[in-house]
């Protein structure tokens, strides 16, 4: 198939499936049926049934993947606004997210290693709690599989948005800043959408957590690899 036709077809398919998945979720009102999750499953099934290779689909898909770069840069705008807004809580927030980032990478990799995961899978799990576009970038840098990191990041977002609010209430978290930060740090974009249902402070705190989690995890990921190598969890 000529290149232009392949690009147009796969872009049209991706946009169409995504738009339909979003309309479907709006009607059903379910967090579990996240449109990204539904779109990925539908597209994989469709490509399999039609016998289309991923490489051919990705000639168009790459166009959207490229836009993730400027989209991550764009997060600098809410990051700046939220840092100004959070004011004197800034140091507490920085410390909290730093600890959260270390806890996320360590618990994920140690759990996977204890259950006998392979090196590639363990490396792919390091950026798990990070927003998907940044997770893809980190995975490529630490020898993980970017597609696996993307999928795990999306799954984490959906999982965190579902179990987050009841878990935080059970723990007695009443501070709106703490509530939003926890949802953003553990479940990035999907968690932020969920936090926005609670209130403005929650939404802003969650957005801040996404940016900081991405930065801290990107900086710490190579260090985490070093620690895991030294402990013999990785080869």
């Amino acid at each position: 198939m000529p290149d232009a036709a392949a690009i147009v077809l796969s872009l049209a398919a991706t946009l169409g499936v995504y738009a339909a998945a979003r309309a479907f979720q709006r009607r059903i009102g379910s967090v579990v049926l996240h449109p990204v999750l539904v779109s990925i499953i539908v597209l994989i099934v469709a490509l399999r049934m039609l016998g289309i290779e991923y490489e051919d689909y990705d000639r168009g898909g790459r166009v959207l993947t490229f836009l993730l770069g400027p989209a991550v840069v764009a997060l600098g705008l809410p990051l700046h606004r939220q840092m100004e807004e959070i004011g004197r809580k800034r140091n507490a927030v920085l410390l909290t997210i730093l600890v959260g980032s270390v806890a996320g990478a360590l618990t994920a990799t140690v759990t996977a290693a204890l259950l006998g995961a392979s090196d590639e899978v363990i490396r792919s799990l390091i950026p798990r709690s990070v927003t998907t576009p940044i997770a893809i970038g980190i995975a490529g840098r630490v020898g993980g599989l970017p597609a696996l990191s993307a999928a795990v990041s999306i799954l984490t977002g959906v999982l965190g948005a579902v179990i987050g609010p009841p878990l935080l209430r059970a723990l007695g978290i009443r501070s709106p800043t703490a509530f939003g930060l926890a949802l953003g740090a553990a479940a990035h974009g999907v968690g932020t959408a969920r936090a926005a249902e609670e209130g403005d402070v929650e939404a802003a705190s969650a957005a801040l957590a996404i940016g900081l989690m991405g930065v801290f995890t990107a900086v710490l990921a190579p260090l985490a690899i070093g620690v895991l190598l030294r402990l013999g969890w990785l080869n």
Binding site: V17, L68, V73, L75, P133, A150, I173, A178, L181, A185
Partner: protein, 115 residues
């Protein structure tokens, strides 16, 4: 309408600067993350106004979920690996999500009370 292409070009310039800096300084950070930090820093120092990047930035952020669909579809090339290792992947995701949520929520509330 020219505000959209202009703001998009500014974002691309920051992406390029982030990539170049990561490469030149051999930093273990994705260029896009550095670009994000450079943008936040430039806004904070007042080098550029938020309105300069706002149109494209808000459009990209609003539809960011769509942008990682193709990367997720790439999972189909790893089905063999996932078939063997789904248990550690799922278990690690659950353990780690609960830990991050609890640690961040609890610690932030604690620090605010002490302040």
């Amino acid at each position: 309408m020219w505000r959209y292409p202009l703001s998009f070009l500014v974002l691309l310039a920051f992406l390029f600067a982030g990539d170049a800096l990561a490469h030149a300084a051999r930093l273990p950070l994705p260029g896009s993350v550095l670009g994000m930090l450079l943008l936040a820093g430039s806004l904070r120092l007042g080098w550029i106004r938020p309105a300069l990047v706002q149109p494209a930035a808000e459009l990209l952020i609003r539809h960011m979920a769509l942008l990682f669909v193709p990367a997720g579809v790439g999972l189909m090339t790893y089905f063999g690996l996932l078939g063997r290792e789904w248990l550690p992947v799922v278990a690690a995701s659950i353990v780690s999500t609960v830990t991050v949520m609890a640690v961040v929520g609890w610690m932030q509330q604690r620090l605010e009370r002490d302040a």
